[in-house]
Amino acid sequence: MFKIQISKQIELKACRDGFGEALLELGKRNKDVVVVSADLAESTRCLEFGKKYAERFFEVGVAEQNMAGVAAGLALEGKIPFMCSFGVFSPARNWDQIRISICYNKANVLAAAKFEGPVYIRFAREKSPIMTLPKTKFKIGNAEVFKEGDDVTIIACGSMVYEALLAAKELKKEKIQAEVINCHTIKPIDAKTIIRSAKKTNRVVTIEEHQVNGGLGSAVAEVLAQNYPVPMKIIGMPDKFGESGTGKELLDKYGLNYLNIIKEIKKLI
């Protein structure tokens, strides 16, 4: 069992803040770590890196395609570039440059040190509960079983993992034992852990702060459909554009919360 915490008074922190801190630490440990920014250094929290390591920080302006190409060139010459932007711009805007300049070149862009890139990391902007502890395991490519159970599997990523844990806690009161998997790596997906859990529970619900097409749920479905098909529900944005509203309002509107997980599980059981 992995050590995690769940409580009413849990501390909240934005993932991007943690990223900024980690980037500073990486910069200290490895002189090859560089940052390419497209006018979002403050928002993506790479600003502190830029202040501390000005000679390793490149600001290209609002130019995401250029950013991806510059990062590729840096990587091909042995640097470890992190390119920092919003998902709506990167990869939305520089998809072709990511595909050809970075991936087709196997350029080590946005890679965590000691892992061969390229790597894409996605964070939520809003604060989310710090559920992990220093001893919580984390390895790229390994899905972690945060809670074991026999009746249903909930597979979540990012900010939705905590909602999955809350759902499992509520379901326990009704004698439904949910297994909760933190599937933080979407690709390469941990098929072994997913199949093992599906064989045990025979029902899978996935939840992600993302479109239902082409995300975590789809990746899990690809694994299960070919190996061990079970009834499934994919919770996420139902192929819709975003809209204005508070984070909480929008999460509730699209059922990205533990109450909706419970509702969907009851339909499956």
Partner: protein, 274 residues
Amino acid sequence: MKSNLTQLKKMANTLRQDVIKMLVEAGSGHSAGSLGMADIFSALYFKVLNHKPKKPNWANRDRLILSCGHIVPIRYAAMARSGYFPVKELKTLRKLGSRLQGHPSYVDMPALESSSGPLGQGVSVAVGKALAGKMNRKKYFVYCITSDGEHDEGQTWEAIMTAAKYKLDNLIFILDRNKIQIDGYTKDIMPLESLKAKYEAFNWFVLEIDGNDIEKVLKATEIAKRVKDQPKVIIAHTIPGKGVSFMENKWEWHGRAPSKDEAEKALKELQRAL
């Protein structure tokens, strides 16, 4: 609809107050650019544009594309004050279910002509609309508001070349040269000068004016409309945050909304200026 200079100046002040009230109510949004462009929006909606607010899909209307979509609060204010929708609706900015989305949403409000937000895209859409205007032998002008920071994007220059190739003299860019963007001054993030020489090298007709001087805005649009066989750009030097002293020329206000106290202070200052 058509107003005199004094009325336009007064309207610009009203629009600024609207923007402050909208942003504080929303709790987020872009203050500096919205305030800096109030004079131009007053001139456009109350004098320059050939439009019918009660008939937003009138076929011969001038098209206005807001390529730098983040300053849409000032456009909403100008639209409400000119009769597109009730002024009281301004308070719904960024609220769940509102058609006043934080960034322009065409499906929610077709009078915006196009959705925008990610920079460099509206300029191409404006080129397309100008091409269609020529093909359909329509007399309308396409006005495109673009920001200086937006010229970091390669797509902006692709659009600029296309407009010159097709000699789109029905296309007028108004370039908000406020010298700031989200993370700092444009000269620090990505130097742009000389914008005038660049546009001229790309075969555009260029005017450079004080964008907070309504009289100059009116004159520039009159001249620009008359120039033939070339697309036109009015480089409008504006003061970001104009009218609210503690916001003026501060890039930190690019993407920030005022707090309640700051809004109160800002509104007092704007009311005193009347």
